[in-house]
Symmetry: C2
């Protein structure tokens, strides 16, 4: 079936572009000499995670326990959840996951933590359930999100992790990788070395910041959005073109109320209501401007187009933020040269917990 014959709105992945993006990032990290750990938030699909692992990624990242469960059930080991896991329900699921996903004799589940409360909760549950959880101390190097604020606080929390039962201290992580973090990490590493704390992993993140992580002396880098690429990244990266975007949303023109306005059947529930306009690029008619979205309608200004649009016509749109669009769709059609090859469940979609 051709992608234009799909019922709309339909999220489509171009496999050639996806494979090229995966191969390019793998080569880029190999050239830099830094290990790649792919963030699966962009696609939430085990089949794509396996393609990334086959291309050389050393492991994956999931942002939620529920996403990690999906990936582990698909046979994937070595999962990092860079998040403070709290509360009895999630902690029980985490230790069950750690026991299931054991890699040989080793724990394959790593989490991040930035507080004593998080670390003590992890330890108590792991010890009670006979599991081992690997822990990275999260440090804030300018991102202003989670993370301890000083090298001394990182060392103190690392020491606590090393001392508590059920935990294995793996190292440190931050997001995003930031060149100004060099003094922080130099100091933190010194403090850890002085205490004899293990620091096998130093993990940075952010697609496009792989070289920064290498400069900082990190051991691995977490990249995610590179797999699909979206218009947001294109706007900020000179070397990115629409041809490098793997996702398209196929939509139908449902109304041509006036000659300069068409309405498409994708709105906020299809594209996510990401603020910057236009909300995506109409591939067939780049002069068409998606200038507003209600929940189920996309409002497109076509005053700049010579084309005479007709009701029922199909269009393909490159969305702005690929990861958020993914989370709106239960399934994705994977296509090559415009022909649908298979349909993947977005198995990790909607795992809010």
């Amino acid at each position: 079936m051709h992608i234009y014959d799909l019922d709309t709105p339909a999220l489509v992945i171009d496999l050639d572009v996806l494979e090229r993006n995966i191969a390019n990032m793998a080569a880029h990290c190999q050239d830099l000499g830094i290990a790649l750990r792919v963030h699966t938030k962009t696609h939430k699909i085990p089949e794509i995670a396996r393609m990334q692992l086959a291309a050389g990624s050393q492991g994956i990242v999931c942002q939620k326990v529920g996403e990690a469960e999906v990936m582990a059930r698909a046979g994937i080991r070595d999962i990092l959840i860079p998040y403070n896991i709290l509360g009895p329900q999630k902690l029980r699921r985490l230790t069950a996951l750690a026991r299931m996903a054991r890699n040989g004799g080793h724990s394959a589940i790593t989490v991040a933590a930035d507080s004593e409360e998080t670390v003590r909760g992890l330890s108590a549950q792991a010890a009670a359930d006979g599991a081992t959880i690997r822990v990275l101390v999260e440090v804030d190097t300018g991102g202003g999100r989670c993370g301890v604020q000083t090298p001394e606080a990182a060392r103190d929390l690392g020491r606590l992790v090393a001392d508590l039962p059920g935990l294995e201290l793996a190292g440190m992580m931050t997001f995003p990788s930031n060149p100004r973090a060099q003094p922080f990490f130099d100091c933190a590493r010194d403090l850890w070395a002085r205490d004899g704390l293990p620091c096998e992993v130093l993990s940075g993140g952010g697609t496009g910041l792989e070289a920064v992580s290498k400069e900082l002396g990190f051991t691995e880098h977490r990249s995610g959005s590179y797999a699909y690429e979206g218009m947001t990244r294109i706007k900020t990266s000179a070397d990115l073109t629409p041809e490098r975007c793997a996702t398209r949303v196929i939509v139908t023109v449902v109304s041509v109320p006036t000659p300069d306005r068409i309405i498409i059947d994708g709105g906020q529930k299809t594209f996510e209501s990401y603020p910057p306009k236009p909300y995506g690029l109409v591939v067939e008619h780049p002069a068409a401007r998606i200038q507003a979205m209600s929940v189920e309608h996309g409002h497109v200004d076509v005053s700049g187009c010579d084309h005479r649009f007709r009701v029922g016509e199909k269009l393909s749109v490159i969305p702005l933020h690929q990861g958020k669009v993914t989370n709106m769709h239960d399934e994705v059609a994977a296509a090559r040269n415009g022909e649908v090859v298979c349909v993947w469940d977005v198995a990790g979609r909607g795992k809010v917990r």
Copy 2:
């Protein structure tokens, strides 16, 4: 189980507030003397639609065929889909729905149309499948979305609907109800009467615009968001208070990196990245300001709070736009006095087609 004992993030509905909102709107429309047709986009839950029908709503609105299928399977009849339905897959599903949801001898499925292409597609499929689809001609009375632009165009399309097999002309609809549309409808009704076209239904829409529909001489009004109410409507409606919002998102404080910043475990994937800040109201601490959201983190400025927040603490947040938050969650906990009564599947969630 108390709502604070739910794993987070968790979407919760307060049943007392929901029931009060449903009763109030039913009474409001009864006082006005206009029939209410509830839009289910806000909740996407058949159980709530049934509560609204029991309170006197004469039917429901779904925005997608997939949502209507969910409601029809739950036994609900008299469904309006105010959308141009196009394409063979959706048309086949629509006629199957019309045959299944027949109400006695009558078609219980009504759609909107604003073009000859839509109307001819509906007719061809309905005639082929032995179904009858009721059609409202959609008119644009200033909304700038779909809809024919002139009373004459409405009359011409009405005439076509009346002439084609498989269709039943029901009347006209618009969104939102607009006082300035009076001349348009006066003229359109005259033209229809002159042609002897049936106009059993004149349907307006928009929570808060019930009286406008009555003034315009409409027969029914479509309201949806009143069931939950959200902060967006509170900002624009003087008589709305947080106590009238039925939804809460229970979140956990996962990090207190600095004394003036806390991070909660609800971000764009939980709340939807609706642009206006703050992204919601923290009920327990109204001075806390949710000032940024990444995909899985909510960034809260607590510099204005005396309370000393701790990691692991639960908070409840009233989201901005209840309908979009609903679409991010597979299930909703229904609670009374803080105790969970039952958990509802958001059965109509994610039905993009």
